[in-house]
């Protein structure tokens, strides 16, 4: 799709998006969300549980469907996308990884390329590439099953799988949430290296302020279904909106008095 020369098309654009769970007593999850996410940005969506951050993520690959406004992925409303094509172009990583226990690491990682009918040698090469990206030895791990991996290794394989078909967008929902602090720090470093090398648009959901500041090129704070703030990691701590101050205080992160 040709891009207009003046304003680069955002990779993802929320236009006043609302999401209400339809039920007898409808529950409003997200309200008036407007966000432009540029190509190559790493957006950390921050918020406490119940703020709607996971729902926001799932609107993008249409696991949930927004109920008002419009949500565009590479310029096209997600409602107009062919569902399968939309999802195959978006990598998805969740906390519990969702690796298929009956498939080997190689089969897990190469599943989408296989569904997309990539030729065997290209799929093979890609498997080695993405395993290298996540810092795992492809030959050593190819034939192992998920149950034979540590939590950190499983998470790395989950990321490799999400990257396998070379999607433009990567969605990550608390990807390091279930890991011990040491492994978590290790994977955050691996993530930074990876994000620098792959230049994908990444939307990462987390409740951890430290993680958001470390990994995001921009931090967005969700509060009760609204965007409460959106700033670079450097500026975020200086914001004086009550919601931001409150979140920072709750995170027990002692930072110097804002200037």
């Amino acid at each position: 799709m040709p891009e207009p020369a003046s304003t680069a098309m955002p990779a993802i654009e929320f236009r006043n998006v609302g999401y209400v769970i339809p039920a007898k007593e409808p529950r409003s999850i997200l309200n008036g969300i407007s966000l432009r996410i540029a190509d190559g940005e790493v957006i950390a969506i921050l918020g406490r549980s119940g703020s709607g951050k996971t729902s926001l993520l799932k609107l993008i690959n249409r696991i949930h469907r927004f109920t008002s406004g419009d949500l565009l992925v590479t310029g096209k409303s997600v409602s107009d996308w062919d569902l399968i094509q939309l999802r195959r172009g978006i990598g998805y990583v969740i906390q519990e990884t969702g690796l298929f226990p009956h498939l080997t690491v190689r089969e897990n990682v190469s599943l989408v390329p296989e569904l997309e009918r990539w030729p065997e040698d290209r799929a093979h090469q890609r498997f080695h590439e993405v395993m290298a990206l996540v810092g795992l030895n492809a030959d050593e791990f190819a034939k192992r099953f998920p149950r034979e991996l540590s939590g950190g290794q499983r998470q790395r394989v989950g990321v490799a799988r999400a990257l396998a078909a070379d999607p433009r967008i990567l969605l990550m929902d608390e990807p390091f949430g279930a890991l011990d602090p040491v492994t978590r720090a290790e994977l955050q470093q691996a993530f930074l290296n990876l994000a620098r090398r792959v230049s994908k648009t990444i939307v990462l959901v987390t409740h951890d302020l430290r993680e958001a500041l470390l990994l995001g090129t921009r931090v967005v704070l969700l509060n009760a279904g609204h965007v409460a703030a959106s700033a670079s990691p450097g500026d975020f701590l200086k914001l004086d909106q009550p919601a931001v101050r409150e979140f920072i205080a709750a995170s027990e992160l002692r930072v110097g008095q804002p200037a």
């Binding site: 690959n61 696991i63 569902l83 399968i84 094509q85 939309l86 999802r87 195959r88 978006i90 998805y92 969740i94 906390q95 519990e96 990884t97 969702g98 690796l99 298929f100 226990p101 009956h102 599943l111 989408v112 569904l115 149950r147 799988r161 969605l171």
Partner: protein
């Protein structure tokens, strides 16, 4: 005890023939029951109304006393009458529920994170079914087949009442003759068959266990 041994040795040929008939009854019934239940189990995953109906009907068959079911079937055209065909119909009806229920439970008790990942990867519904749900439900389905096989081997002895042959022949003859020896000539091989089936299918089930 020695009477029993004597009966086994003198009627060896007859007993072996009864075992052969019994295995044939059970084998054919199980093949048909699997061919019905597994696809039906797949279909009802996404169809709640059909699911309620299918499980209810299979449940009802299970509650009919076996001798009565054989009796009900005899007067029916096509599937009824005297002999093996009627017996197979009855055995299939009994085998449906365990396989159907286990297939359904196996297909639907999969870790939601796995299904979410499959969905988010852009797998179609049938890809999710055949590449994720079914392989992960394998051991459940096999457990259902195992239960059904054991039930069928036991109930299969009653098939002799409608002239279908098998190991029940000895049991009914023994009852009529008031001879424990003759009853045991049918009951012991039937029990051994059930134990063997249990062991072999249990072995396969553990072998296929994924989680």
């Amino acid at each position: 005890m020695s009477d029993l041994w004597l009966f086994f040795t003198t009627h060896r040929q007859e007993i072996l023939e009864a075992i052969r008939q019994h295995l044939l009854l059970v084998g054919i019934s199980m093949a048909i029951a699997i061919a019905i239940s597994v696809p039906l189990g797949i279909v009802i995953v996404a169809r709640p109304r059909l699911r309620a109906l299918a499980l209810a009907v299979a449940n009802i068959f299970q509650t009919i006393p076996s001798l009565a079911l054989f009796g009900f079937l005899i007067p029916l055209p096509l599937i009824g009458g005297i002999g093996a065909r009627t017996a197979i119909v009855a055995l299939v009806l009994y085998a449906l529920l365990p396989i159907l229920r286990n297939t359904y439970v196996g297909l639907t008790s999969i870790d939601p994170a796995i299904l979410e990942a499959a969905e988010a990867m852009g797998m179609t519904e049938s890809q999710v079914m055949f590449r994720v749900r079914l392989p992960l439900a394998k051991s459940f389905i096999l457990a259902g087949i195992r239960t059904a096989t054991i039930i069928t081997i036991g109930i299969g002895t009653i098939a002799a009442a409608i002239g279908a042959g098998g190991l029940g022949t000895f049991i009914f003859r023994g009852v009529a003759m008031v001879s424990n020896v003759v009853i045991l000539a049918g009951a012991i091989p039937a029990a051994i068959l059930a134990l063997l089936a249990d062991y072999l299918l249990g072995f396969l089930e553990r072998h296929w266990q994924v989680r």
